[in-house]
Amino acid sequence: MRAALTTALFLMAAGTAGAEDTMQYHAADAPVPGSVTHLGNIMPVMMDQSSWFHGILEQAEGRYAPSGTDFRWDGEVWYGTDYDRLWIKSEGTLEKGRLSDGQQDVLYSRAISTYWNLQGGVRVDLDDGPTRTWGAFGIQGLALYQFEFQATGYVSDRGRFGARIEGSYDFLLTNRLILQPQAEFNLYTKSDPSRQAGAGLSDVDAGLRLRYELWRKFAPYVGVTYSGHLTQARRIARDQNEQPGSVRFSLGIRSWF
């Protein structure tokens, strides 16, 4: 005599007396070590342990200004199963022939809940500035209201700490015309002037992009982007006679496979 009846009795008794919780759950399909679900190595179901391979270039855009055009990319590829995946994230900005903000992450990703993945690995700042190497650990997933979110903490080979927080949201104007606000923040515990990084909130890269999904995997977009240094980093940039930040009109293509 098990739960269905117990539940019924429990519900009927509820309100009059606190029923004893005697439920003993047992799934008829519970995994049993050594039990046979198929013959030999022939799986009747082909894909539930498959590995998948995908990549997305969220941003591949020109950012226009009278002073010159920057090129910016931000994307990731991943390979793996439902639970275990290898991620490579890459972003950077090409500015007057100089590559900056080049952050490349190689992460192992583990699914931990309905919408969230834990990620850990290495980040290398690889661009025309001095190279820095960081250990990385963070989360990636879907927050409530279908808000895409990533937060990663970093510790460098020089004992410094950093963090990167990214979020975006898709507003469907129509089923193909999509408005996407997006923002990325970098934080550091100590300044690193040679990379124009300041202690505290160091820089932001944000955009409001309007894309049209010609195909699901190919969507040209127009946008307004802001890239700039904040607080201490702003002073560092000024000291180096660089523009601390600028709003740009951007044109790009979002694509994935």
């Binding site: 005599m1 019924a8 399909d29 198929h38 342990q49």
Partner: protein, 594 residues
Amino acid sequence: MHSFSSLARGLTRRRFVTSLGAGACLSTLPQQAKAEGRPSSGCLPAMPSNTWDLKVSRTHVSLDGKSMHAPSIGGSIPGPILRWKQGETVTLNVRNTLDETTSIHWHGIRVPADMDGVPGLSFAGIPPGETFTYRFRLHQSGTYWYHSHSNMQEAMGLYGAIIIDPIRPDPNACDRDYVVFLGEWTDVMPHDIVNNLKMQDDYYVFRQRTAASFPKEAREAGSAMAALKDRLAWSRMNMAATDIADVSGIIYTYTLNGHAPDMNWNGLFRPGERVRLRFINGATMTLFDVRIPGLEMLVVQADGNDVEPVPVDEFRIGVAETYDVIVQPKEDRAYTIFAQSEDRTGFARGTLAPRVGMSGLIPPMDPRPVRTMVDMGMGNMKPGESMDHMSMPGMDMKEMDHMPMAGMDMSHMGHMAMPKIEVDDPGPPPINVENQNVAMMPMDRTGSPGDGLENNGRRVLTYKQLRATRPGADPRPPSREIILHLTGNMERYIWGFNGRKFSESGPIKLKKGERVRFTLINDTMMEHPIHLHGLWSELENGQGDYRPYKHTIISQPGSRMSYLVTADVPGMWAYHCHLLYHMDLGMFRTVVVS
């Protein structure tokens, strides 16, 4: 939209094909005479036959501008209609000329386990170049179908109809008798479809709620605030009320006997004749809503078993289900067989006509359904309403009266008085990587025709209306109940039972001869047509001893339902959702009878 444009585009080009391919049944045509790449006429072979040689091969098929090198039988899609006779022993020599393993599963046919055709359970499959001979005795009659159970071949066209003539005179014999085989056609490979869904679960859905659709929703909801609240409630759950079908008319051309809508399959009649239509849903991912405007349909058979006739205007047919209906067109005009996909992104269509080549009016598609809290298993709650009062201890009898909760419907009250039965209750499924939702208040929805069909002004078939013409063969009450939750995570596109995929689960073990009640609680917000191989599923739909015998049962979202099974044939049997991509991603179990 897609279908409309192709309809206009292809009409003249296809008319030639129409006049050749469909129409009168040349009943003397031998089965082998069917040309390569030709769709089905829907006509039954003149006589049943006990021996069939079936060659599985790849054929280049082009339909609605979409070409594929598709695996098929005898070069036609659907494959040949196999006509058998109850009581006889059939011999089926299946020769595999593909470069990969194949198999044929005889869907709904009661066979010894080693003849069931599921690689990994019944046998090892049919290797390339080899012939496998299936041989079994037919204990049943009615309309069934066959399909491959290997490597997505079914999704590409390896399927066909089976008709078994009864030994006793058929109470439903008609002047005309047609198979109406519903399916889909696409040039996108099954693996690519799944791969896309893995990256983006709404890849094929272009009917979402948007800013542009908001004014209309606000009007329907009564106010902008109400519409906004409903949206936020769904958004908060990271789910979409517009999630009706995972794969849509964006890539699918819906087919009737292998004919695209513009090819207009014809079934001929003389006014006044009774016409039997044997509907089979051989689709991969699509539930169809079927009607013939201007004709009443008398449902006389479900899943091959006779039922007391039910007159209806429309019925929903889940993937792998079959329904036989009888119509009697009296006027000398064309009648459209209209089968719209549940998500209303397209339709399959054919015509019953007194003369070849006629077309009836094609009705507009209905509005697409929108999921509600009922589908989430939240009973009749309003979106955004607090769930606090649902906590068990605080519940009082007054509230329970209108909440058909676990164990509270009449069928369950009924067996409380019976001898104790063993219950395998997994408890509420975990919310985890593989499961997104728990139906807090699953309802009995056998009285509902399904989402999008309620209160549409037509008489639509419900499961409650199905009543067998004779009492069940096994009068014993069940000695055991197996409760299973249908679970999934749409976002990650993972499907399973009890929050687990196939590869992470054990077999469901039944003792030979055991009488078991299967209870399905659907925690997902989609329909799942659940198919148990080898054994009958006797739907407990309030018809007492006259439970309809089925092989595939739609579990509606947010519902709780049950059926009885007599485990009378030993072996390993497949048990799965017949939405093929759900099955292949984990909504599959092995049932072992020993």
